[in-house]
């Protein structure tokens, strides 16, 4: 939940986002770097295309045999000493997690960033249960202090400029940095969070991969906060979506190469850890109990309802960084846990289409997201699928339905259509000044934030017929 009330409608959130010049600057700074670094990493990988096809096929293989791999993972995880729990819904997942925390006598938990945790509303559930939560990922720490939601799945505090972070730390850190130097801000967070790692009874992480043949859970971070979160407390809880499975550690490595290059442009994250069971006899550190909460929350429904390909998603964020819409409106405007193209596909599946029918519409279908996706998810196709369903379920507004019915009527009568199109072009050009339309009746939704290029003086067919007859061709 946000400290500031967010507007209820997508359109209002978009309007607020595009009116904020600081947001535009913050988005441009991080996504620009991410795009440059990803492009360089992919360009230096000669066989990226076949690796990507392999990544796609590994995920498709697991999704085709999801039940088999889940059972195998469960068996191996139990054999390693882990306790495996199953949750159909977000509520069940939170209830299980809170119950384990209470049984461990936890008053305080540390948490390493997990989008699944955000999806199921775990921060809220812990607060309701009166359990103090310490977010250890730097970006999650920033938005926890600010009382905000993540705006990006890899850089949750992407919407904050360094000046805003500096202001926040000055107000909330015990030994805050002076100025807005990024290195000093990172050092300030390091000092602030250090003792917290050792003051928690439970550490909670997500999972980047669930390894079926060992029962291990893989986390990747650059900061090292996952291991500092999952090692000192007595209990480690993993919350993970059931689609995170891979057959073996070796399969995970192929996906790891794709994931990290697509996310940050690095070859591998600084810290990649496979957590298998609780601490062993003789281990100097590690938790005494290890719980894995496997969460469905709509994933089996996606299997059944034509969204199987979306379960490939590695959560790298490349589709966000390359999306013209995300880069214009930022993550909060989407309203759900997951923003950008992958969010526009997932949010209607997780939170219902009726309340989120705007998301699949807010897309130019330019195909960039699919092109940069490391597992080749056909995001434009899935977004069109939601548009189609929204139409069939009657969720599109009456004005749109009437306009389209009128258009259909015309387009089925070519003479009428040509007459109307020719008239429309001439009418619209009356509002043009120097080739651009800055204001036009009934087009305020477009011209309020941008100009519209004036159309040519004649329609395509008029120009075609004219040039054909000039060349003496037969019509």
């Amino acid at each position: 939940m946000s400290a500031m009330a967010e507007p209820a409608s997508f359109r209002a959130r978009v309007a607020a986002a595009v009116a904020d010049p600081r947001l535009a600057e913050a988005i441009a700074r991080t996504t620009g770097t991410a795009r440059r670094k990803r492009a360089a990493a992919v360009a230096s990988w000669a066989d990226f295309a076949s690796a990507r096809a392999l990544g796609r096929d590994i995920k498709d293989h697991v999704i085709a045999h999801l039940g088999h791999y889940l059972a195998l993972f469960e068996r191996n995880a139990r054999a390693s000493g882990a306790e495996v729990h199953w949750a159909r819904t977000a509520q069940e997942a939170c209830d299980i997690t809170v119950r384990i925390c209470r049984a461990a006598g936890a008053r305080r938990v540390t948490r390493a960033k997990s989008m699944l945790g955000e999806e199921i509303g775990l921060p809220h559930a812990l607060r309701e249960a009166g359990i103090e939560r310490i977010e250890t990922d730097l970006a999650e720490h920033i938005i926890q202090l600010a009382g905000e939601r993540p705006s990006h799945i890899v850089w949750p505090a992407l919407h904050k400029t360094r000046e805003q972070v500096a202001e926040l730390f000055r107000a909330r850190h015990h030994d805050a940095a002076r100025g807005a130097d990024v290195a000093a801000l990172v050092a300030s967070a390091r000092r602030e969070l250090r003792a917290g790692f050792f003051a928690a009874e439970v550490g909670i992480s997500g999972a980047n991969f669930l390894i079926a043949d060992s029962g291990a859970v893989c986390t990747v971070t650059n900061e090292g906060n996952a291991e500092l979160t999952t090692t000192p407390p007595r209990v480690h809880i993993v919350t993970a979506g059931i689609e995170k499975l891979v057959p073996s550690t070796a399969h995970a490595m192929t996906l790891l190469r794709l994931l990290v290059r697509s996310a940050t442009g690095a070859e591998v994250t600084q810290y990649t850890t496979f957590h298998c069971g609780p601490k062993r006899a003789g281990d100097p550190d590690g938790p005494e109990a290890f719980h894995i909460v496997l969460v469905d929350n709509g994933r089996t429904r996606m299997l059944a309802e034509g969204l199987r390909e979306m379960l490939r998603c590695l959560r790298c964020g490349a589709c966000l960084n390359h999306c013209v819409v995300f880069r214009t409106i930022g993550g909060h405007a989407y309203g759900g846990t997951y923003p950008g193209p992958m969010g526009a596909v997932l949010t209607p599946a997780l939170d219902g289409l009726a309340a989120n029918r705007d998301l699949p519409q807010a897309c130019t279908l330019n195909g960039q997201c699919q092109e940069v996706c490391p597992v080749a998810i056909p995001l434009p196709k899935l977004l069109r699928g939601w548009r189609d369903r929204s139409w069939r379920e009657g969720l599109e507004p009456a004005t749109l339905r009437r306009s389209l019915a009128l258009w259909r009527f015309c387009v089925l009568r070519p003479r009428l259509y040509r007459l109307a199109a020719g008239g429309a072009v001439r009418l619209v050009r009356m509002f043009a000044r120097n080739g651009w339309i800055r204001r036009m009746p009934f087009a305020g939704g477009w011209t309020r934030d941008r100009d519209f290029p004036a159309p040519p003086a004649r329609t395509f067919l008029e120009q075609y017929h004219r040039s054909s007859s000039a060349r003496g061709e037969r019509r």
Binding site: D57, M253, Q270
Partner: protein
């Protein structure tokens, strides 16, 4: 109906057969793995040891590396590295027998690692040339937190344990079981969480120095 039954029921309703043909699935998974090797990024020429050194020297990784001929030379190499960083010879030693067997006279060896330890000396299970990664397997002689608490982490890795690819430490060797933690450490800790700018030393070590030990093949 339990949550578990409901989830498996929904998967079955979406088209997956209730009784899996395990041999066929295993064969398909092995077939996918066989496709992996040709797709891996090129490494350039050289032995795994040479490629590992090159990766660790690349500025993008942000680490430093030196070669050491014999294990007995490790304490001197550590002393020189600390002195160059302007640090006193105070270290926490990973409880690895090969490290403990060395002569640390002249050092203040801490009895245990502190949560804000300045310098620690570690012993890696192996190295990965592809990425310049160090491999740690948690156990009595390799606590997980040793790679995360110090500000300066100095790690010895035997050259013969450097393997070419990430997959090379992804399978168990004879007699091995998975440890609680298998950790790959690639360069010092970093974050790009503020405006995408890279800063070292976010939570883990800000400095990583690797000593490649050639003794023993």
């Amino acid at each position: 109906m339990t949550a578990r039954e409901a989830i498996f029921g929904a998967i079955g309703a979406a088209g997956e057969r209730a009784v899996a043909d395990e041999a066929a699935i295993a064969a398909a998974a092995a077939g996918l793995l066989a496709r992996c090797a040709p797709t891996r990024p090129a490494q350039g020429a050289g032995t795994a040891r040479e490629i590992f050194l090159r990766r660790l020297r690349s500025p993008a990784l942000g680490a430093s590396v030196a070669a050491v001929g014999r294990a007995a030379e490790v304490p001197d190499a550590v002393r020189r590295h600390l002195a160059a960083a302007g640090l006193a010879p105070v270290v926490a030693l990973q409880p690895h027998p090969a490290l403990r067997a060395l002569d640390w006279s002249g050092f203040d060896v801490r009895p245990a690692i502190a949560i804000d330890e300045t310098a620690a000396v570690g012993w890696a299970h192996g190295g990965i040339a592809e990425t310049g990664s160090l491999v740690f397997r948690s156990g009595p002689d390799s606590p997980t937190l040793f790679a995360f608490l110090p500000l300066h982490h100095i790690v010895v890795v035997p050259a013969r344990r450097i393997r070419p690819w990430l997959e090379d430490y992804a399978t168990l060797e004879a007699g091995e079981a998975w440890p609680r933690n298998l950790t790959l450490v690639t360069g010092p800790s970093g974050t790009t969480d503020i405006e995408g700018r890279l800063v070292r030393g976010a939570h883990g070590p800000a400095h990583l120095h690797v000593l490649v030990l050639d003794e023993g093949g």
